[in-house]
């Protein structure tokens, strides 16, 4: 797909993600024991043969620069095309993605691409974008929006789409909750480059702030919009519960296989961590364990990121433990999300609720 480029938006609905997004955009939130959420979007683009990817730099961009770096881990460190950072100087205090796109519109125009995937990197999936392009070409749509059926009722910002039988989108509504079975927009637009340029400039120059609301919902009749249903696993990370549940979904071997073990792998920053060391007292079930962990204690129904140390006597259940955390002897954790570099000292007990996990902020010592 040499004639297609991707543009990644780092923004997302992070008001319900609390501490987890205090120092990072949603796109940079660690997930599934090894990845950041944007890995799904970037890898899907690259695996679909798209070698030109722009990243709309937002505030709090350091974790994104740290993670993507030169783009080499995605084979995007190239002399031609490859990865490009698109800065947003926030003129007049406007730091919206639309303002960023507008500031970099010459970059889009200069590209030799014919089509653009504009992707909000806040959703977990493994899509072959080539199918979306084919669908787009077959329907003759101006704009294709990718959606999935919501898997459960959950609070969190969602755009739900009415899609006719022939795929035509007849209505779009933004709500603060998602209902099981509704057609939830996955934050993926596909359109011709000139359509995008027109949409961005005309919306921004008329005071618009949101591509979806001001550009599309308010002008539904001006475009022929089609919806492409992604039938595979997909979940948008727009609240702490969505994040918690998404991680636990991946403990289902079928979903683990679908997302990660297909012929299209999800790439991420390589860290050269050693294999996991299970010691003689280890007892681990129904869990994902990232490399570099050292495990003496018990872990159940949980996800451990790279380099976590679980000491003897520890019991961890229904938890997400991010990189480089240390859980010391006889600590017990249940329904807890530990951000990076947390230390839980000896004998500490921590417990959240199944529908309200306790979040321990980055680098806290408890």
């Amino acid at each position: 797909m040499g004639n297609v480029m991707g543009i990644i938006r780092l923004d997302g609905a992070n008001s319900m993600l609390k501490e987890l997004c205090e120092h990072r955009p949603v796109a940079a939130l660690p997930i599934a024991g090894r990845y950041r959420i944007l890995d799904f979007a970037v890898s899907s683009l690259v695996n679909s043969g798209i070698g030109h990817v722009g990243v709309l730099v937002s505030k709090k961009a350091r974790p994104v620069f740290d993670h993507l770096r030169s783009g080499k881990d995605w084979d995007l460190a190239r002399h031609r095309d490859g990865l490009a950072y698109l800065p947003n100087d926030g003129e007049n205090g406007n730091t919206s993605a639309l303002a960023g796109l507008y500031q970099n519109i010459d970059f889009v125009m200069r590209s030799s691409a014919e089509y653009v995937f504009l992707v909000q990197a806040d959703t977990v999936y493994n899509i072959d974008f080539r199918h979306v392009l084919l669908f787009h070409q077959n329907t003759g749509a101006d704009i294709t929006m990718v959606y999935c059926k919501a898997r459960e009722d959950l609070p969190g910002e969602a755009a739900s789409m009415q899609v006719a039988e022939n795929g035509k989108v007849t209505d779009i509504a933004k709500r603060m909750t998602s209902t099981k079975g509704s057609n939830d927009f996955m934050g993926i637009f596909l359109m011709r480059k000139d359509t995008l340029v027109k949409l961005v400039t005309s919306t921004f120059e008329r005071g618009g702030n949101s591509m979806l609301v001001d550009g599309i919902i308010r002008h539904m009749d001006e475009f022929s919009i089609y919806g492409y249903e992604h039938k595979g696993f997909s979940t948008r990370i727009n609240s702490t519960m969505a994040y918690f549940n998404a991680n636990k979904s991946i403990l289902n071997p079928d979903i683990w296989n679908e997302l990660f073990m297909s012929e299209h792998p999800i790439h991420t920053k390589t860290k050269d961590a050693a294999p996991v060391q299970y010691k003689n007292t280890a007892k681990v079930t129904n869990s994902l364990i990232g490399n570099g962990c050292e495990i003496y204690g018990e872990v159940e129904d949980s996800i451990l990121f790279r380099g976590v140390r679980v000491a003897e006597g520890v019991k961890i259940k229904d938890c997400i433990i991010m990189e480089q955390c240390q859980i010391e002897q006889y600590a017990m954790l249940r329904d807890v999300i530990c951000d990076k570099n947390v230390v839980v000292s000896e004998d500490q007990w921590l417990k959240g609720a199944e529908n309200y996990p306790l979040i321990i902020a980055k680098s806290t010592v408890i």
């Binding site: 090894r34 050269d272 060391q277 869990s287 490399n291």
Partner: protein
């Protein structure tokens, strides 16, 4: 982008016939080790960590697979724009091509590579040892001693010394006074690690002389080093302390893997001195509801539904429900089906151990399943080779 001070030449050996079935389809340096690595990751990572960014890998055997594993060298940050890792198989010349006749001949046949890089020093390494070492420190010692050659040595137990090449040194300054290959009555317990630093011109001269000597077996230990010593060259020993293991045989390869499972592993993979490797993009491994994993190392992309104890499992391994793996090494993407039993074995890549099958060796007679084999249930087997 700056001039190369020191080039490393890794003698990645021949077919590795002592590793038998494991090197049927891959060269010895590409044999998996330690749950995620290949043997060659160790010298390559040592080079990268020591700031050596031009490396020749001398191999006679299946250079293509090795090339494919090394790629551009980017996993080791050796993908400089003017080339970092060079695979150097014996290639056809005016008079046809020869196998490398010995370690010295292998370097001799690639003097044009050394000329191209134009370094001051040549570091000669072996491709079948597991260890972590800072070559920059050894090079600093070499320079400080104004040496012609410096040889890495480590202390072996006195009773094992007769199995090694032994250096007799001046205790004051480490200058080598004598070298004995496998001495019956060793005068020292400093064994050569097969790690040499030579001044480039000095090496050049001796290699060219040796090449014309029909009686030479063109080997560093047997010919080059003794000749240099005879000429009273300035040769120094450099003492290495730490874990060092030759993994040239099935038993030693198995043992070195088991060494990693000790309560205090021989070296830390998590220290700043990282071992780099070229990894596929795989997720963290998954342990199922009935999994039981103890005293083991597991890598990414594996799915464990059974029991694993005292074993090293590589990436993408599947262990079925009720299966039991003990004291074994399971290489990438091998599937162990339900209720299969594996003990004291090395199972190579892409094997299938069928449901209910038994593969059992014992200490001193490790069972080996070669790459790509399927072991049927009725084929239960013991000992050195299963196929």
């Amino acid at each position: 982008m700056s001039k190369t001070t020191c080039v490393a030449m890794i003698l990645a050996g021949g077919q590795g016939s002592r590793l038998g079935a494991l090197t049927k389809k891959i060269a010895k340096p590409a044999v998996p080790f330690g749950g995620k690595y290949r043997i060659i990751d160790f010298p390559l990572s040592n080079c990268a960590n020591s700031g050596i960014d031009k490396v020749g890998v001398l191999t006679q055997y299946r250079p293509l697979e090795l090339h494919n594993y090394l790629g551009t060298g980017d996993a080791w940050d050796l993908d400089k724009s003017d080339g970092g890792v060079f695979i150097l198989p014996p290639y056809a010349r005016d008079k046809g091509a020869d196998w490398y006749k010995g370690t010295a001949d292998a370097i001799y046949q690639n003097l044009n590579f050394i000329d191209m890089v134009d370094p001051e020093y040549v570091l000669v390494l072996s491709g079948d040892h597991i260890y972590t070492m800072d070559y920059a420190k050894m090079l600093a010692a070499h320079r400080a001693n104004k040496a012609d050659a410096t040889i890495g040595v480590f202390e072996v137990p006195w009773d094992e010394a007769p199995r090694f090449g032994i250096m007799n040194t001046d205790e004051k300054d480490g200058r080598i006074v004598e070298f004995e290959e496998k001495p019956a009555k060793p005068k020292s317990n400093l064994a050569s690690m097969g790690i040499y630093i030579f001044n480039r011109d000095f090496l050049d001269k001796y290699l060219k002389e040796d090449a014309t000597d029909d009686n030479s077996s063109h080997d560093f230990g047997k010919n080059i080093i003794p000749t240099m010593l005879k000429d009273k060259a300035r040769m120094y020993s450099y003492a290495f302390e730490g874990y060092w293991k030759d993994v040239g045989t099935i038993e030693s390869l198995w043992q070195a893997n088991m060494d990693l499972l000790q309560d205090e592993p021989p070296f830390s993979f998590t220290s700043a001195w990282k071992i780099y490797s070229n990894n596929p993009s795989l997720p963290p491994h998954y342990l199922g509801r009935d999994a039981k994993v103890t005293c083991s190392m597991l890598n990414e992309g594996s799915m464990i539904m059974g029991e694993v104890d005292h074993s090293v499992l590589f990436s993408g391994v599947k262990i079925g429900k009720g299966a039991k793996v003990t004291n074994s090494v399971i290489m990438p993407f091998t599937v162990v089906e339900e209720n299969a039993v594996i003990d004291h074995a090395i199972v190579a890549q892409n094997c299938v151990i069928s449901a209910g099958a038994h593969v059992a060796g014992s200490e001193g007679a490790i069972a080996v399943v070669p790459e790509g084999e399927t072991v049927a249930a009725e084929q239960a087997s013991v000992g050195q080779q299963v196929s």
